[in-house]
C-alpha cells in the first residue's frame, strides 16, 4: 500500500499550478521576446473545463431537491450543504496553510449565535432580508478570527494546535457561563419567517430554505476556490511547506496564517449562520469540541490535499452519521474505527484514492488492478462482518438489554462463549486472508504504475 500511496500525485487541486501557466512556462531559451509574446494571452477567469464543472455543480444543486423532495432527504441535503462550507473553510487552515485546528467550531458557533440574535432582534420589522443574515454570521466568524487568530498564528505545528484547543475549550465553557447570550443548556431559538415576503418567498418551507443554503454554498465554494488561485492562497501553501523560506522571500508567515485564519473564520461563520436559520435553534454544542472534531474528520476523510476533498468528506460523514446512527447504538464507535482506518491506510483521504485511480483510468490501465481487487473483496467482507459482529455483541452485552440481539433476523445469545468465539473466528479468518491477499493488490499497483511511468518517460 505504501508504494501505491507514494506514487499518488502530490499536487492536489489546492496547490496545483494553473495549467495554462504551466503550458506557457516552457520556453527553452531565455530572453524577453518569447515571454512577452506569450504573456499577452492572460488565461480566462474560468477555463472551459472548469466552467463546465462549476456549471454542472450548480445544475446538480438546483436539481437535487426534485429527486430528494421528502422531508428527511431534503433536510439532509440542507445539512450537507452547510457542512460543505464548514469543511472547506476548515481546510483553508489544515490543507492549505498547514494549521491543525481543534477549535474551528468556535467560528461556526459564533456565526450561528450572531445570526440567531440578529434574527430575533429584527423581529417582525425586518430591516435586513433573512437571505442576507448568514453574512452577519460570517462577520461574527471573521471577528472571531481577528481576535483568536492574533494569539494563535505566531507559530504553526503543535503550538497552534494546542492554542486552538485551548480557545475552543475556553469559548465552550464561556458559552455555559453566559446563558443570556448562549441560552444555557436549552440554547437560543428563533423564527426565520419574518418581514415581508419578497416574491412570495418566506423561507418558511424547507425547500425555500434549501435553495437559500444552496445559493450561499455555491457562492462560498466559488469564493474559497478562487482564493486558492490568488497570491495569498499560494503563499499559504508556501508557508505550509516551509515557513522559514517564506520569510526569506519577503513574507511574514504569521500574517499569511493570520489572514487565512480570519478568512476561514468568515466562511465558517457563514456556515454557522445558515445552520442557525436552518434549524431555527442554536445550542452551546455548536461551538464545542464535538463540532470541531467532526469538521476535522470531514476534511481529513475527504482529503486535505485536494480542494474538493472536504466536500466529499462533508457529504460522506453527514450521510454516514444519519445512516449508521439509525441502525446501531455503536455508531460513534464505528465512526472512530472508520477514521482510524483512514488515517492509517489512506491518509490522503478519499480524494487522493480517487486521484490515484483517475491516473490509471486516464492511462487506460484501471482494469489491470481489478482482478487483485476482486481477490481481496471477500477477505474484506469477512473482516468487516467479524468487526461488526464483535462490536454489536460487545455493545449488546454492555447495555444488558433483555431482548436478544438480532442479526439478519437470527437471535444471538450474547452471553454464551460460543458466540464470542464465533465472531472472533470470523474476524481472525478475515484478517489472515486479507494479509495473504493484499500483497497482490500492492503488486498489481506497482506493475501498472511502473508501466505508466515508463511510458511517460519515453
Amino acid at each position: 500500500m505504501n508504494d501505491v500511496r507514494r506514487a499518488a500525485p502530490k499536487d492536489g487541486a489546492a496547490n496545483s499550478p494553473e495549467p495554462r501557466c504551466g503550458e506557457q512556462a516552457s520556453p527553452l531559451s531565455p530572453g524577453k521576446g518569447m515571454g512577452d509574446r506569450q504573456m499577452h494571452a492572460v488565461p480566462p477567469l474560468l477555463h472551459r473545463r472548469r466552467l463546465f464543472l462549476w456549471g454542472a455543480l450548480a445544475l446538480l444543486m438546483i436539481a437535487l431537491p426534485l429527486v430528494f423532495n421528502k422531508g428527511f432527504a431534503l433536510s439532509l441535503l440542507c445539512q450537507i450543504s452547510i457542512m460543505v462550507i464548514f469543511a472547506l473553510s476548515y481546510n483553508m487552515l489544515l490543507g492549505q496553510t498547514g494549521l491543525l485546528s481543534f477549535g474551528h467550531a468556535v467560528y461556526f458557533g459564533t456565526g450561528a449565535f450572531a445570526t440567531m440574535h440578529t434574527l430575533n432582534l429584527l423581529g417582525k420589522t425586518a430591516t435586513l432580508p433573512v437571505s442576507m443574515l448568514p453574512l452577519v454570521g460570517g462577520l461574527a466568524g471573521l471577528l472571531g478570527g481577528v481576535l483568536f487568530g492574533y494569539v494563535s498564528t505566531k507559530r504553526a505545528g503543535t503550538t497552534f494546535a494546542m492554542i486552538s484547543l485551548g480557545i475552543g475549550e475556553l469559548v465552550a465553557s464561556a458559552s455555559l457561563m453566559f446563558p443570556a447570550v448562549f441560552g444555557g443548556e436549552g440554547g437560543v431559538s428563533g423564527n426565520r419567517v419574518i418581514g415581508k415576503a419578497a416574491f412570495g418567498i418566506t423561507f418558511g418551507p424547507q425547500i425555500e430554505m434549501y435553495y437559500l443554503i444552496a445559493a450561499w454554498t455555491f457562492v462560498c465554494m466559488l469564493a474559497m476556490y478562487a482564493l486558492t488561485q490568488t497570491p495569498l492562497g499560494r503563499m499559504a501553501n508556501a508557508v505550509r511547506d516551509n515557513p522559514e523560506r517564506a520569510q526569506f522571500v519577503g513574507y511574514d508567515p504569521r500574517w499569511v496564517r493570520y489572514i487565512m485564519m480570519i478568512l476561514a473564520g468568515f466562511f465558517a461563520g457563514i456556515a454557522g449562520g445558515l445552520s442557525a436559520l436552518n434549524y431555527e435553534m442554536v445550542t452551546a454544542e455548536t461551538l464545542g469540541a464535538w463540532t470541531s472534531g467532526v469538521v476535522l474528520m470531514m476534511a481529513f476523510v475527504g482529503g486535505i490535499g485536494f480542494f474538493y476533498g472536504p466536500i466529499i468528506g462533508a457529504m460522506l460523514i453527514s450521510m454516514l452519521a444519519i445512516a449508521v446512527a439509525g441502525v446501531t447504538k455503536a455508531w460513534l464507535f464505528y465512526f472512530g474505527l472508520f477514521f482510524l482506518t483512514m488515517v492509517l491506510y489512506a491518509p490522503g483521504g478519499i480524494a487522493s484514492l480517487l486521484a490515484m485511480h483517475k491516473r490509471l483510468w486516464n492511462a487506460g490501465q484501471l482494469t489491470k488492478v481489478m482482478p487483485a481487487y476482486a481477490l481481496v473483496a471477500l477477505p474484506l467482507l469477512i473482516t468487516f462482518c467479524g468487526v461488526i459482529g464483535l462490536v454489536e455483541i460487545a455493545y449488546h452485552h454492555a447495555e444488558g438489554v433483555d431482548e436478544p440481539l438480532q442479526i439478519f433476523g437470527a437471535d444471538i445469545d450474547v452471553m454464551s462463549a460460543a458466540t464470542w468465539l464465533m465472531a472472533l473466528l470470523v474476524l481472525a479468518v478475515g484478517l489472515i486472508l486479507l494479509k495473504l491477499t493484499w500483497p497482490r493488490v500492492s503488486e498489481a499497483w506497482r506493475r501498472v504504475l511502473a508501466g505508466i511511468d515508463g511510458k511517460e518517460a519515453a
Binding site: Q229, T230, R245
Partner: protein, 255 residues
Amino acid sequence: MNVPALQLTEVRKSFGQTVIINGVNLSVPQGERHAIIGPNGAGKSTLFHLASARFPVTSGGIFLKGESVTSLKPHQINRRGLSRSFQVTNIFTNLTVFENVRCSVLWALDYRYSFWQRLAALRDANQQARRVIAEIGLAHRSDTVAGILSYAEQRALEIGITIAGGADVILLDEPTAGMSKSETGDAVALIRRVTEGKTLIMVEHDMSVVFDLADRISVLVYGEIIATGTPAEIRANRTVQEAYLGTTFAEEHHD
C-alpha cells in the same frame, strides 16, 4: 565611494557561553563579489544567519546600504533588498518549480497578501518567474514538484528562489556543496550570470570556485576575520596560510 552594500561592525554572537562570532568587521562595497572562506566550524554559516537576521546578533551592528538592519526580522531585511540561499536546500517541496519561483517574486512586485487578484492574470509575476526559470535552466521542469527534482536541480532552484525577487545583495551559502565537478562548473557560470551587477557574498569550501568568482576574499577563523583582500593577496598572506590554508593550499593554488 558609495555606501557599502553590506557592512558588519563589531558583530558578536554567542550561544550561551560559547562565542561563535567574535567581533567581526566586514564591509562589502556595492557590486563586489565577496567570498568568505575558513575552516569548518569557523562560523561562516552563523555569520550569514546574522546578516540575514535568521539569528539575532548578541552585539554589534549590521548595515544594509547604509541603513541599520540590526534588529529587523528576516522578511523585513528581504524587503530591503537582501536575499539569501541556504546550505541545506530550502525550497517549497510540495509546490512546482514554477510556483516556487513565482512565490519568490510576489512580494517584490508588490502583490503582498492580495486575495483579490488572480495569480494567472499577474503578467509581470508570471513573466519574471518564467525568465528566472529559464535562466537557471529548469524550463523543462517548470511543472515538476520541487521535492522530486534531482539534487543539482534543487540547488539551481535554490539560487533561482534567492535571486527571483530582484534583490541587489545576494548571500549564497555553499552554493556548490555536494556537486560533481561538471555540476560545479555549471553552477559557477550560473552564479556569475545571475549576480551580474549585484553584490554577491558567498560562503564556499571549493577553493577553485572561490578564486574563480571572488573579487575579494575574507578569511574567517574561530569567529574572527583574520584577513581580507584580493585573491592574490589572500594567497600570499602568511597568516592565512598558517592559520587555515596551510601548505596544501599553497601547493594547489600556486599555479
